[in-house]
Symmetry: C2
Subunit: 311 residues, 2 copies
DNA sequence: GTAATGTCTTTTATCGTGAAAAAACATTTT
DNA sequence: AAAATGTTTTTTCACGATAAAAGACATTAC
């Protein structure tokens, strides 16, 4: 099978949405930039759009003939990259009960179960290892460290260290920095979401990530910025997994963010520190409360069927 | 070629050194633990030792017949893992002049130049990416961020944050903790090295790493402990690259370590903080002074032959 | 002459394959 | 019966091969 054409399919779908807005498409290089793909892929997309009667394509002329119909789109599941498929599959297993600290991870079995080659699984595990949830034994298998209370505490410890420092750096940024406009925009979005909370509460997690990433970027430190990937990953799956009191939690978080934003705008270090601490404390509480007591680190032993086996 | 047997060769060489000390070798499982390899590999080693007349092997009896000769050993270069070979090769290129920030890294070309498969190079680059020196463009090449002044400053910023916290945690450890004995042992080693500095100054970097890892471990935080891998990697190659005033630098560092150790033993937070800060400051200076001014981040352009190409 | 399109080449992503090494199972020895 | 040895199976590691996607070069259009 060698390689799926999900890049093409995903870009095709995104291009279809563009069709609604205009009568004719821009030049190939322009489309490439817009969709984030190469001209080669753009031309494949245009070819297909011509074939299916969506556009008339003659050199520079790409006239839209009709609006896209649902059946023009490629199925969602065919647009995911292999890495995404593997990650989702792996995280499902990890968060499912039965995945205890100390268990072995079997590359071959994982690959077979997901239906992909071992190379992709290996590469995924190497990339995933920086999240601190798995560890490699030299010339041997991977070991699961488990999504434990200890993990959550270690993660939040670093997060708090990094974010307090970033927030302080943020507040010290000059008045003419572009971040203040970004912050204003985020504040508006927070207020809109707050007033619509009853129906849109599930949009918070995306806003949350953008807000915190903006702050972390002020550190101008690649290690701090990159570490937010770990936090984002954990919170992403955590939100999917723990829906209890989601609306209320998010409502509280939005108010904390607004207070945090006000503190940043005041540029008063003490206020920033206090608002940041307060929010991070409740974020930690939320994460911790979602980890059942049973999910403690404990050396597992014996063998178990499936991807994870007792060591 | 599929897979080299460097694990076997390396373990064989290490096993040869064991031969000097005893008349007979222990059981297979025991040897496996000792050498850190499986019984399968142990048996291959024993087979060869029997063939070359080093031992007489009959079931539980493994009698040493003669002392190993130089020609019994496998050549050093055959005992390195592929990952080590690729890392060395890559770092040589990275630290060589001409590798500027913004350049592209070509997997295929790197693989060809080193003489290995692309998979191994890909996996290496993924693993290496956590050091913050390279970055991947989606569906495309890697980009070199460069060993710049900015990199050194970002690295040391995190290091200082982490080590100050770890040192404070260390000093707060209970009296009966095993780390105090470890610290005492390290102190002795420091004093021995200090008195022999003229001849053994190049042994410092290994001692340095052990000392700092001991401190970082007191944080009980996997992210802090793991981050020391980044520091160790950078300092490892930095030491190889910058030999200027090595002896004097190490002499100063040993004295700083001794003061740092004394502060830890005093368990006085203020003293620990001061000693730690002082040492980290001079470590940062050493690293910074080794980065030539020319080695600044600047967007490269155009193409260049070799592994790294201008973007 | 700049920027697009058309064509060709190179690189990346992924798989199946086979040898090295680990791990599991069976048998013997103490 | 506990621990070693002998044997077989499974897993990891690394490669070459191939389609997707990117990139480079040549040609045409404005």
């Amino acid at each position: 099978m060698s390689k799926s054409n999900n890049v093409y399919k995903d870009a095709f779908n995104r291009c279809l949405r563009l069709l609604d807005e205009t009568q004719s498409l821009p030049s190939e290089p322009e489309l490439g930039t817009l969709l984030g793909v190469s001209r080669t892929t753009v031309r494949s997309i245009l070819s297909r759009m011509e074939e299916t009667g969506l556009i008339a394509w003659n050199k520079r002329n790409k006239t839209v003939l009709r609006a896209p119909r649902p059946e023009d789109f490629f199925p969602e599941e065919e647009t995911d990259s292999l890495a995404e498929i593997i990650e989702r599959s792996f995280m499902r297993r990890l968060l499912a009960s039965g995945a205890e600290a100390g268990m072995q991870i079997n590359e071959l079995e994982l690959a077979r179960e997901i239906g992909v080659g071992t190379t992709s699984v290996r590469e995924f595990l190497i990339r995933f290892s920086r999240f601190g949830l798995i560890e490699k034994r030299r010339n041997s298998h991977w070991v699961l460290k488990g999504f434990t209370r200890a993990f959550a505490l270690e993660l939040t410890e670093i997060r708090e260290m990094f974010e307090l420092r970033s927030a302080a750096a943020f507040a010290a940024l000059p008045h003419d920095s572009a971040v203040w406009a970004d912050l204003d925009r985020l504040e508006v979005e927070h207020r809109q979401l707050a007033s619509d909370i009853a129906t849109r509460f599930n949009e918070f997690s995306e806003l949350d990530e953008r807000f915190h990433r903006l702050i972390h970027r002020a550190s101008h430190n690649r290690f701090i910025v990159d570490f937010y990937d770990v936090i984002a990953m954990i919170f992403h799956y955590h939100y999917q997994w723990n829906k209890a009191e989601e609306r209320q939690r998010n409502e509280v978080a939005i108010q904390e963010h607004l207070a945090y934003i006000a503190a940043l705008k005041s540029r008063d270090p003490a206020k920033v520190d206090a608002a940041c601490r307060k929010h991070l404390k409740s974020a930690r509480q939320t994460l911790l409360s979602s980890i059942p007591e049973g999910r403690q680190a404990q050396p597992a032993d014996g063998r178990l069927s499936g991807t994870f086996a007792r060591a």
